[in-house]
Amino acid sequence: MAAARTSRRLWRAALAAIVLMAACSASGEEYLGRDEFLVLAFGDKPPQMHTLWLTEETRTAAKAAVGWVPVALRLRYWQDGDRTAWILEDIGRDQPITLGIAVSDQRIERVEVLAFRESRGWEIRYPFFTSQFAGLTLAPDGYLSEHVDGITGATLSVRAVERVARLALWLDAQVRS
């Protein structure tokens, strides 16, 4: 009888643990909200949001400079002195990845993955990868000033982050000039 009772308790505990773990592991694809990113970039009082229209001229210049420009005609950014923050999207393999890039004094200060929708490559959200971008600038050839180590199995996502980082640096220079 005692063994059966113990067994039932164990079974219930295991079931509760499974449900809890499953609920935790199946959390959504949105890692960070806009406001949370802005707090990370600017502290408790983020500046006002600005709008940048990507005219045909700007699009051509961006493509020539960094080789990529988003499809959207309008971008949002935040600026406080020498620091700007951008929320940009690029497609990794099939789905868009939403990234937050903070640039200060023409150097990347922070890269955050706000949302990841692909089934592979989500490792790019971790600091071991994103911290490599800190301090990088835009080289004259349109690439980042230093090499960023990739992640096996996440090549396309890594490339997307690099593209977006390059564009953020270029856009930062445009809005500050």
Partner: protein, 257 residues
């Protein structure tokens, strides 16, 4: 000794039951895992599934593509996940297309996880997601006094498309919410939208089978549970082996004494 025997008995009892429960999924995970590891060599990312019923299960409503008519323009979302203005591709949109509305010079296409702002000539002005402040999942879109309003979480929220603010709840009662009813996309437009059978690759299918996403959120939760069961099998198996080994080491000593 008695406690150990009871523990081994209990472990055997559950190990067998959990083993039977997890066996099918362990084999499924192993096979799909091996195939995914070699998907490029096997060409699984370049070959496509030709089962219309499965495409439909993925949300591809190809036989009756829902669309919203805005004047002479039609907004629809094809099975490749992209929104089309008439036959012109605009941009990918996350989730099912739940509505469309005209707001000033812009057309708004609302998918469950994303809102697209589109010009009347089919250019994407901006895309808004939960990461950029959109309340999700969106259930509907409409307009209140010519102002765009979004339904999420059972409430209607007024959309400020300049500031990208969606935090103002529409006044309950009294307001008239205009919504478009989904219609059938005209055949002459549908014929120009790329056929849906070239998007569901075998690799995607295997990935979704491996992760359980093929069966939606519940499938993912179930595969998580299976992963926990497999881990518990490894633990109970190791524990039983260790207890059995201890017993074998102890028994000769008893005999000798």
């Amino acid at each position: 000794m008695r406690l150990r025997s009871r523990l081994v008995g209990l472990l055997w009892h559950w190990h067998r039951r959990v083993g039977v429960l997890a066996a099918f999924f362990a084999v499924l995970l192993a096979i799909t895992g091996i195939l995914l590891n070699h998907s490029s060599e096997l060409g699984l990312d370049r070959s496509f599934v030709d089962w219309p019923w499965l495409s439909e299960a993925y949300g591809d409503a190809a036989p009756d593509l829902p669309a919203f008519q805005l004047g002479e323009l039609w907004l629809s979302r094809a099975s490749n996940g992209r929104v089309y203005l008439n036959a012109q591709e605009v941009a990918p949109c996350s989730g099912k297309l739940v509505g469309a509305v005209q707001s000033g010079a812009l057309l708004l296409a609302a998918c469950t996880q994303e809102l697209l702002l589109i010009t009347r000539s089919g250019e994407l002005v901006e895309s808004v997601t939960a990461s950029t402040g959109l309340p999700t999942p969106l259930q509907a879109i409409g307009s209140i006094d010519s102002r765009a309003a979004l339904q999420a979480d059972g409430s209607w929220w007024l959309a400020d498309l300049d500031l990208m603010e969606f935090g103002t709840r529409a006044a309950a009662g009294g307001a008239v919410i205009s919504q478009l009813v989904p219609d059938r996309l005209p055949e002459q437009i549908r014929a120009k939208i790329p056929a849906p059978d070239q998007w569901l690759s075998w690799e995607r299918l295997l990935l979704d089978l491996h992760s359980g996403r093929l069966f939606g959120r519940m499938g993912v939760l179930w595969m998580d549970a299976v992963a926990v069961l497999l881990a518990s099998l490894a633990t109970s198996g190791t524990a039983m082996w260790w207890l059995h080994r201890r017993r074998r080491q102890l028994v000769p000593d008893v005999r000798c004494s």
